[in-house]
């Protein structure tokens, strides 16, 4: 368990990045369950208690992410975003555009999910926003798969970032 005494309660972009850098430095040499930035407990013992109370869930979550990192993938259609309606569009055209988006997102997500240990599709303004739990040793083959998907879908822009701490897979985390 790692925590720090609160010095300032200011939430700034810099503080968020420092938190992230620290977690990522730790992540290089060990597996960990990240806790959301700014999680506060009243004192040291409360922190220990919060962890002890959730020990079984935390242990299970740690097993789930052991040996893996999180990679994020986002995809946008290259044509002007068709998320919303277009003036003068017919109802049928609108529904077909929706159906095409659902299908395009599936074609990006499915091959990537096969290479990942676990995956979660998230809400966002993109065609697809998803997080993948990938074995440390499989990051390279995952990225090759992203590149293959990108080559197969010239109509999309696909961005892959990471490795991130496995925030999206650290369920049962401590909340204050």
């Amino acid at each position: 368990m790692l925590y720090a005494r609160t010095q300032r309660r200011e939430v700034t972009l810099d503080a968020v990045w420092r938190h992230e850098e620290l977690i990522e430095a730790l992540m290089e040499s060990r597996d960990l369950l990240p806790v959301r930035f700014g999680t506060l407990v009243s004192e040291e013992r409360a922190a220990a208690r919060a962890v002890a109370e959730r020990a079984p869930q935390l242990a299970a979550s740690l097993e789930r992410v052991r040996g893996a990192v999180e990679l994020a993938v986002r995809a946008h259609p290259r044509e002007p975003d068709r998320r919303g309606y277009r003036p003068g569009e017919s109802g049928r055209e609108y529904m077909s555009a929706k159906a095409r988006r659902v299908e395009a997102a599936r074609l990006v997500h499915e091959p990537l999910a096969l290479v990942a240990r676990d995956s979660v599709v998230q809400q966002g303004p993109e065609l697809l926003r998803a997080a993948y739990l990938v074995d440390r040793g499989a990051v390279e083959s995952f990225v090759s798969m992203v590149q293959r998907v990108q080559r197969a879908h010239a109509e999309l822009d696909v961005l892959c970032t990471g490795p991130w701490p496995p925030y999206s897979f650290a369920e049962g985390g401590v909340s204050s």
């Binding site: 946008h76 309606y85 049928r92 822009d157 961005l159 369920e171």
Partner: protein, 113 residues
Amino acid sequence: MRDKVLARPLELDPFSGDRARLENALSRRVNADPESVERGLAQLVLTIVELLRQIMERQALRRIDGGSLSEEQVERLGQTFMELDRRMEELTQEFGLTAEDLNLDLGPLGRLL
């Protein structure tokens, strides 16, 4: 911080909206004002409407796919969803919310949408 981009398209612009969103989220947490109560309520209501909209839309797409609807019915469904889409966009903008705000983190149960 190391470069985190593992695979990227030529054009990164479409992905650049996140920084502004992060900054907005941070300032919103710090500057609690009377308006934020109203916005919190709007966010909750709109989240539920968005959840219903997505469920109905998925259902509609499945029915269209199944071929059980007439041309006229498909057109009417499309018009209805288009209008709902337009209204949701107006309302989220009016309350300074983004698509991502219309989601609830249910803790161990995961995200709503």
